[in-house]
Amino acid sequence: MKHTLITLLLLLTASLSLFAQSEQLGGTAIDRVNNKSLQGANVQVSNNIDRFSTTTNEFGQFSFSNLYAGVWQLVIFADGFGNYETPITVQSGSTLNLGTIFMYPAMVSNIQALSDMSSLESETSDYVQSGPALLSASQDVFTNLANFKFSEMRFKARGYDWNLGKTYLNGLLMNDVNTGNSPFSLWGGLNDAMRNQESTSGMEPTTFAVGNISGMTNVITRASQIRKGYSINYASSGSTYAHRLGVTWSNEIANDWFLAYAVSFRYSNPDNPLNWTTGTFYQGVSYFLGVEKKFDLRQSLALTVLGAPIKRGVSAASTQEVYDMLEDPYYNPNWGYQNGKIRNARMRNSHEPVVMLDYSNRINNRFKLSAAASYRFGNNGYTALDWYDAPDPRPDYYRYLPSYFTANDGKREEILRGWMTNENIRHINWDELYNVNYNNDVELNGVTINGNKGQSIPGLRSKYVIENRRADQHDINTGITVNVLVNDFLKVNGGLAYRWNRTEYFKEMYDLMGGDFWLDVDQFAERDFPNSEAIQNDMNNPNRIIKEGDKYGYNYYAFTQTEKVWAVAHFNIGKLDAYAGGDIGFTSFYRDGLYQKGLFPDNSYGKSETLSFLSYSGQLGGNYQITGNHILSANMNYVQRAPYFQDAFISPRTRNSTVENLEPEKIFAADLSYSLRMSSMKFRLSGFFTQIMDRSRVMMFYDDFYRAMSNFAMSGIDQRHLGVEFGADVYVWNGFSVKGAVAYGDYIYTSNPLLTQTVDNSNDVLSNQLVRWDGSYVSGTPQLATNLGIEYRAPSSWWAGVDLNYYNYTYIDMNPLRRTTEVRNAALDPEQMMHQEMFSPGFVLNANIGQWRTINRKYNVGIMLTINNILNNQKLQSGGYEQSRLSREIDDDGRRVDQYTPFPSKYFYMNGTSYFLNVFLRF
């Protein structure tokens, strides 16, 4: 009795005291399931200029007292609950009490943690794609579900390549300047330090940039904005790394001085039995340090230092024949046993720290200025086996497979037996490769080395080595952003950006594998032009002796500069919120060769021509609030972007030649959406249309038709993406919610690009042909992805959910050579040659369970376990590509004739049943 009375009095006093100050805004958050007050929820109000945040107290109450008159956006979010958002208008002198706000349960989407899980890199065609660009905890009901649920199939929203998404750090665009790839690997593992993000998955502009076709994220790493206290996180995954442990801490350490740091360890053993793909591993430690000083109430200067050194072993796709033979769709040809240990020949290793200084000044209530400068440096490498005049060491080389021995049953049986019983046939035979090096003690005699004639080099000349292909960057990035609140109806954001980048590309000798040296000559030139200067990789240093750590093979700089100016105006007129904006800028780049290549003595050393491109965009859009909860939005965007360095040079490793008539890429995109946002129900339905024009691509591979190592430049690639997106999250009854998402699109090529083929060792143009693939499908993502799930939230803060995904219309990555007239006419079966394979559709069943609680009002603890692919569906291809080689038919006399069939394609399969465990502790 006494107890209750005191509590009541306290409550009353507390609520009274809160209203005693001159505050403008207050409210109470209630957990709808338990009908209890929700403590520890984050509440944020922001306009274009300012952002204030607080947390709810034990009664679920929050208040703000330093707001000024104007229109603000209020968001309440808490782990385990769906966000509550509303625009509010604050008037000076009066108080706005929002009253009781019900919060409904939603799944804990630990997106950041899952971004690491799904960023397992794997080789695709000749280039590696890194993980999805946009993996922030989005507030959009479709994106939230799609990013979380569909990443298992490497889903790409609207079919866009991952390099169409943009990632910013404190307002600076961090996408790789040479490839456009997302920079997430720069801070992998630092999830809690990078949690403060402003993002959009759609085309709308933000306070930090013009709208981007494929959405964007700005990660803010100011120490003062990182969650105060300790965040400790442990994760364990059955597919990529076995363990991740991270600690993040932040606080105000002195008057207006803020400090934050984070350390994270990621480790996975290649022998880990939980790993679906043997030979893949992960070793990394990431670090973060942030220091911020606030001056008066308006200015702040923050320094951020972060890095994520990592070494990871990757997997590669193989053919269906190999998977069927071994009954293992996760076979990885990149590794073998060396002295009983698993050794992977292909490892990515990088350490690219970023140092950033950013300054912001809220000059007054209407004007904010921010400026930032960053420097990214370090090294980035990718190892591979290299060999000189020796048998191919790859275990799944086509001549080591049963399918090669079509004319000989006995030999086919023999090699099949070898694959099933002999690990040196099934995997890389490291012992043999080393022994070949041990055998090679033939002295090089009478050679001119390092300028001296008639030299003899004793020692073992390595035939097999591990090379490390490096791309080391110095990237200086600067930008200024201005946010202006002109009046209640108009906001203007704009800025300037300048970026300078020098990337050094070279090969480094990583491991001589038991030998003493490697001789730096071009073995393919040696075969075609023996005993001539053409074999030299660097005519200024002929016949160089290479030891571990030395550069060899190729060495050049790519210099890039971009300048840009952008501005967006936002209009707010009653129920309509509209924007118009654009940007304009220049991109220029050139190559600077450091080696004089013997095959191209006049065109390899020194600077190439400088290529410059104008880039610009214009956009228009807005949303209309039919009622407070029903919103209609539309966006339109036209972009012209400069090509990337990697697509502008025919063969940058050997020469300065640029692709002829290189066009900038143009994109037109439009979408229309209808969304409903109520506390208990959210959904969004969108339709979109995008036309991409004049994409270019450069590839290099051996052409079996012309019998020459060739460079291919494709230009005039057009694509059309059309589709619908639907996402819904509905609270049904008594703790149960139903969620679902559908992404259904039709992404096709709408032109027949031009393919120019040049010989790699002479630059002679072999052919100019059209690639007939108008109407073929864009690859790399399922064009239909659907999800339906049920989640239950129990009164005692635990939840469980189950959901079912269905995927279909995933197409293979095509080899353009198979669609040229010449090859089609020479094909044994032209239809088979030109056919684009579609992967099998399939279902995936996932479940999750978790709990979080607050202990002693201070410790937040949570645990989440996800079981993926409960049905163990191992037949779903998540990706794949056509090989570039063609095979010549053999006639009845055993002679090869001019009729071709394609080599079998290579596939990646989605992992079978695996788990993901995440445990966090915050205090």
């Binding site: 021995f405 000989n408 002679d764």
Partner: protein, 408 residues
């Protein structure tokens, strides 16, 4: 205070990790093969065993497919094969060298009796078996073949082929059949000097109609496959050489013309021919780049790159007047035969070089006498019947590298 200690912890953690570098130990060297306890027979005995029916070889087996044309109609007349079932070994020192590319995918070994080719079917054999190194071959389940006069050891023939054996190109078979001896014990075999006059005498025929030549007291087929030296040879630069290259040229240019609609000018009349040992893939593909294709032809050039002041035409005009690269697709490297003869003797020696040889593009010295060292072989493309000798078989010499060409 607290902050500083935290920072220290953080710094330590940072420093500790990158040093985690897993080094792999170098694997052990393979041990040389130890022949104790193994039954080793001479290569001569192995060769002889193909023809006798009452010895340890069983299952005489013939290839089946038939081919029409100017060649013999029954394969069994030019190819024989027999699978070896006994667990016997042969051993010999390596006399071929595929480093220079002329012995693509084959290994020739020679013991005190004779030599034989082992069709190993692997690139870069010199990486595993060096010149002069002893090699042991486990013959059980390999096929001993006889093809156009030469013996070979290989794998079971493909279905429907006219070759006696196929290459032993299954990776499991390498380590099960061919074993390297001590790599430090390299003793190159000394070549035996022979003369062409002796090559032509005393041809007799065995019961199968195969030609046998007795040379001193050594059966002819015991000479084939061994390392020999022939001296005082002169290049035969008559049309017989050009006859070998010229049809190739017509073939290639013709096929190119068909593809591109190019007009072919009247036939080439080469006056000034530069000879190379063989045609590498690049040179064969550029064979079309000859001024012969244009209106006036005076020079035929087979080589590009190395020789200064050579005009090499790389483009021509097709029927539409478009400039077309004279690049012949689907052309592989071509083997070329050069004819040499010793003074006064009819029987020529053919020095045949594969287009895959690194020295293929090197110039052939035309004038003067040469000595050659190489592996002697024979190529019978006609069935030689008793009493109805159509022509002599070609004796072929395969060079290992240009050190085998001795200019006295």
């Amino acid at each position: 205070m607290k902050t500083i200690s935290k920072l220290c912890l953080f710094a330590i953690a940072m420093l500790a990790f990158p040093a985690c570098n897993d080094k792999f130990d170098n694997p052990n060297r393979y041990q040389p093969f130890d022949p104790t306890g193994k039954t080793i027979i001479t290569i001569a005995d192995l060769k002889k065993s193909l023809w006798t029916r009452d010895n340890f070889l069983t299952n005489v087996w013939v290839t089946t497919a038939i081919r029409e044309g100017e060649y013999v109609t029954a394969y069994e007349e030019i190819a024989h094969a027999s699978i070896i079932l006994q667990d016997v070994y042969i051993q010999g020192r390596v006399i071929s060298d595929d480093r220079e590319g002329n012995f693509y995918r084959s290994l020739c070994i020679q013991d005190e009796t004779t030599g034989i080719t082992v069709k190993l079917g692997r690139n870069g054999l010199y990486n595993f078996y060096e010149l002069g190194q002893t090699v042991y071959v486990k013959c059980q389940n390999l096929v001993l073949g006889f093809y156009r006069g030469m013996y070979e050891l290989g794998a079971y023939p493909d279905e429907e082929t006219y070759y006696a054996t196929s290459y032993i190109d299954v990776p499991t078979l390498f380590s099960e059949h061919v074993f390297a001896g001590d790599p430090n014990d390299l003793q190159p075999i000394q070549p035996r000097e022979i003369s062409m006059s002796q090559m032509a005498r005393n041809i007799t025929y065995d019961i199968y109609g195969n030609a046998e030549i007795h040379f001193d007291s050594l059966r002819y087929d015991m000479l084939l496959g061994t390392l020999v030296k022939v001296v005082d040879l002169k290049h035969d630069s008559t049309d017989r050489f050009l006859g070998n290259l010229y049809p190739i040229y017509k073939d290639i240019v013709g096929s190119r013309a068909r593809r591109t609609g190019m007009e072919i000018k009247p036939e080439l009349q080469p006056k000034d021919v530069i000879l190379t040992w063989a045609l590498s893939a690049v040179d064969a593909q550029n064979l079309g780049s000859q001024k012969a294709i244009e209106a006036d032809t005076s020079k035929v050039v087979f080589l590009r790159g190395n020789i200064p002041n050579q005009e090499v035409v790389t483009h021509a005009l097709d029927v539409k007047g478009n400039s077309v690269l004279l690049f012949i697709p689907s052309t592989m490297a071509l083997s070329v035969s050069h004819y040499y003869s010793q003074m006064g003797y009819r029987t020529p020696l053919v020095v045949r070089t594969s287009g895959y040889a690194r020295f293929a593009g090197q110039l052939v010295p035309k004038d003067g006498n040469r000595d050659f060292v190489g592996i002697i072989g024979i190529y019978s493309d006609r069935r030689l019947r008793a009493g109805n000798m159509v022509r002599y078989p070609d004796f072929q010499l395969l060079l290992r590298d240009l050190n085998d060409v001795i200019i006295p």
